[in-house]
C-alpha cells in the first residue's frame, strides 16, 4: 500500500518553506509533490521516504496532516500513454479524485499517482489491463 501524506496549507507567505523545513530537519526525503490550491488555502500532497514519521513530525510542528492510500502506475511516456490508463479506469466505472505525475531517473516510463475512492477495484482494473503498478518497495527505491 502506497501512502501519500497530505498537509493543510494556508495561502500565506512562507508556509511551504516551513513545511519542507520540518520535513528536511526530520530527514524525510521528498519523492513526489503536488499542490492543490484555492483562494484561501491549499493542500500539499507528497510521497515521502517515511510517511508515518513525516505525519508525526508535521503534527508536532503544528500542522494538520494525514495519510491517504494512493495508486502509482507506470505509464508509457508516449502520446496516448495516460489516455489508455484512464480509459481502463473509466470502463471499470472508477472516477479519479485527483492525479499527478512525477518522474524518476531518466526512463521510458512516467509515473502517475492516482487517488480514487475504491482502491482495490482500481488496482484490479489497471492490472487486468496490463498496467504496471508500483509497490511501496518500488517507491522507496526511487
Amino acid at each position: 500500500m502506497i501512502k501519500q501524506i497530505s498537509v493543510f496549507v494556508e495561502n500565506k507567505k512562507g508556509r511551504l518553506a516551513k513545511i519542507t523545513d520540518v520535513l528536511g530537519r526530520g530527514g524525510i526525503d521528498l519523492i513526489a509533490l503536488s499542490i492543490a490550491d484555492t483562494t484561501n488555502f491549499g493542500i500539499m500532497r507528497c510521497i515521502v521516504s517515511d510517511p508515518d514519521k513525516a505525519v508525526t513530525l508535521l503534527k508536532d510542528g503544528g500542522f494538520t496532516a494525514s495519510t491517504t492510500e494512493v495508486i502509482v502506475a507506470e505509464v508509457t511516456d508516449k502520446p496516448g500513454g495516460l489516455a489508455r490508463v484512464l480509459e481502463l479506469l473509466d470502463k471499470a466505472g472508477i472516477s479519479v479524485e485527483y492525479l499527478y505525475s512525477f518522474v524518476r531517473t531518466p526512463s521510458e516510463n512516467a509515473l502517475i499517482l492516482f487517488r480514487v475512492e475504491n482502491v482495490a477495484a482500481a488496482k484490479e482494473a489497471l492490472q487486468t489491463g496490463g498496467v504496471k503498478l508500483l509497490t511501496e518497495q518500488d517507491i522507496q527505491n526511487i
Binding site: S6, V9, E10, N40, I43, G62, S66
Partner: protein
C-alpha cells in the same frame, strides 16, 4: 420643539410621583400575570405592596436576557395572547431568539415615544421621514415607521439596502429626516459622493441614528458629509425597541423616556445601585407596558446617568453614549451577535470544539464579520471539495443562526493566538 412639553419638562419630584404610581401598577401586574415574576418576587420575599416610591424599585428582582430565553417564546407575557397584536424578536445567545409581544396600547405608546424622538431631531408634520432601518422581526424599521406616522410626517418605508434607490428617493421625495444605523448613514454619504449628487437637491436636515454603537468622531463625520444634525437614539427590543432614549438637539446625553422607563445604574459585580454620574450597567424597568413589562432588566450596556436640567429645557434624565458592554455581545449592522452562537454551530458540525476566532472590521463603513476556523484532524480532508463544502456549510449555518452574512476562512492549527491557554475569541477592529 416638544412633543409633549408637560411630560418632557415635568418637575422631577412630580415625575418621581408619576413613576411611583406606574411602578406600583406594573409590579402588581407582573406578580399577578407572570408566573416567573410571582416566583422571583416570592423567592426574595417582596410583594407588590412593598412598593411605595420609585426608589423602591431596588427591592425588586432583576431580569436577565436568559430569563426571556428560558420562558421562550411567550412565557414572560403579562397579557393574554388574545390581546397581543404584534411580536418582535432579537437573536438570542444561542439558537432561539428573544421574543417580545405588544398589545395595541403598547404599539400606540411606542409610536408616541418614537414620534417624540423625531421631535427631538426637529421633526414635525411637514417632515419627510425615510425609514432605512430593516423592517421585520427587528424592531428598528417598524418602530421608526409608526413613530413617523404618529408624528404626522410623510413616512417612506424603504427599509435597509439598495443605497442608490435610497438616494434617488431622498432627492425626489425631499426627505428631511433619515432614520438608519450610523454606519449605513456613512455608507449613503459615500454613495452620494460617488454618484456626484448635488447637495442642493437634498433637503436632509437631521438623522436619527441608532441600533449600534458609534463614536463622537463618527457623528462629526456624518454631520459634515450629509450636512445634517445627527441624533443618537437608544433602544432595545426587550424594553420596547427604539425610543427608550434619544439625544435632543444639544447632543449632551440621551434623554430617557422616564414616564415609560425607570432607569438605574448598577455595579455589575455587586449589583448595588450607583449614584448619578457614576459609570455602570444600565438597568431598566418598564412602567407603562402591558404585553411584556420587564422588571429591572439588565441591559449589559455601560453608561452613566445625569438628572441635571438640559439646555433644551427637558428635565428627563440623560444617559451618556453607551461606552461598552458587560458581556461579549457584538452589534454587527444593528444585529446582536454572541460568540456563543458561532461556537455552537461549530461544535455541532465538528462534534468537538474547534478553535475559532471572530474578526470584526468596518470596511467602507460596512461591518464585516469573519470567522476563522482552525482545520483540526477531525475537520481535515485530503480533498479540496470536502474542505470547500465544509467551509460553505459552516458559513451557511452561521448565517442562518445570525441572520447576517459572514466570511468563513479555514486556517492552520495554532494560528489563532492563545493567551494563558485560552484563545481570544473576538478581535474587533472597528475602534468604536
Amino acid at each position: 420643539m416638544y412633543w409633549n412639553k408637560e411630560l418632557e419638562c415635568m418637575d422631577r419630584e412630580q415625575l418621581l410621583k408619576v413613576q411611583a404610581e406606574k411602578l406600583k401598577a406594573t409590579a402588581k401586574r407582573v406578580y399577578e400575570n407572570v408566573p416567573f415574576y410571582k416566583k422571583a418576587f416570592d423567592d426574595i420575599g417582596v410583594s407588590p405592596e412593598d412598593i411605595k416610591s420609585a426608589e423602591d424599585v431596588r427591592l425588586l428582582p432583576f431580569t436577565l436576557k436568559q430569563d426571556l430565553r428560558d420562558n421562550y417564546p411567550f412565557g414572560m407575557f403579562a397579557s393574554p395572547m388574545s390581546e397581543i397584536c404584534r411580536v418582535h424578536a432579537s437573536s438570542g445567545t444561542t439558537g432561539k431568539p428573544t421574543v417580545v409581544g405588544y398589545t395595541a396600547r403598547d404599539i400606540q405608546s411606542w409610536a408616541q415615544l418614537m414620534a417624540r424622538t423625531f421631535t427631538f431631531a426637529g421633526g414635525c408634520r411637514d417632515s419627510v421621514i425615510q425609514v432605512a432601518y430593516g423592517y421585520g422581526l427587528f424592531t428598528g424599521g417598524l418602530g421608526a415607521h409608526y413613530g413617523a406616522e404618529a408624528l404626522g410626517a410623510v413616512t417612506v418605508p424603504v427599509s435597509g439596502g439598495n443605497t442608490k434607490r435610497q438616494i434617488m428617493l431622498m432627492e425626489d421625495f425631499g426627505t428631511t429626516i433619515l432614520a438608519c444605523t450610523p454606519s449605513y448613514a456613512l455608507n449613503i454619504a459615500e454613495v452620494i459622493d460617488e454618484l456626484g449628487v448635488n447637495r442642493k437637491n437634498l433637503k436632509l436636515k437631521a438623522g436619527v441614528f441608532g441600533a449600534e454603537p458609534w463614536t463622537e468622531a463618527m457623528r462629526t463625520e456624518i454631520e459634515q458629509r450629509l450636512g445634517v444634525l445627527a441624533i443618537d437614539i437608544y433602544g432595545l427590543s426587550e424594553i420596547i425597541g427604539p425610543g427608550v432614549a434619544s439625544d435632543c438637539m444639544y447632543k449632551k446625553g440621551l434623554h430617557i423616556a422616564e414616564d415609560f422607563f425607570l432607569a438605574e445604574i448598577i455595579d455589575p459585580n455587586t449589583l448595588e445601585p450607583l449614584p448619578h454620574g457614576q459609570k455602570g450597567e444600565l438597568v431598566i424597568t418598564t412602567i407603562d407596558k402591558d404585553g411584556i413589562p420587564l422588571i429591572r432588566y439588565r441591559t449589559r450596556d455601560i453608561t452613566s446617568l445625569s438628572v441635571e436640567k438640559c439646555d433644551c429645557g427637558r428635565t428627563l434624565a440623560r444617559m451618556d453614549k453607551v461606552m461598552g458592554r458587560t458581556d461579549d455581545m457584538l452589534i454587527i449592522r444593528g444585529v446582536n451577535v454572541y460568540p456563543s452562537q458561532i461556537e455552537s454551530v461549530l461544535v455541532d458540525m465538528a462534534e468537538v470544539q474547534p478553535h475559532y476566532q471572530i474578526i470584526v472590521d468596518r470596511v467602507d463603513n460596512f461591518d464585516c464579520l469573519e470567522v476563522q476556523v482552525e482545520v483540526s484532524s477531525a475537520l481535515f480532508s485530503d480533498e479540496i471539495r470536502h474542505l470547500e463544502t465544509l467551509s460553505n456549510k459552516i458559513k451557511a449555518e452561521i448565517q442562518s443562526v445570525l441572520g447576517i452574512g459572514v466570511t468563513v476562512t479555514l486556517v492552520e492549527p495554532k494560528t489563532i493566538a492563545r493567551s494563558e491557554g485560552k484563545a481570544r475569541r473576538v478581535i474587533d477592529n472597528r475602534n468604536i
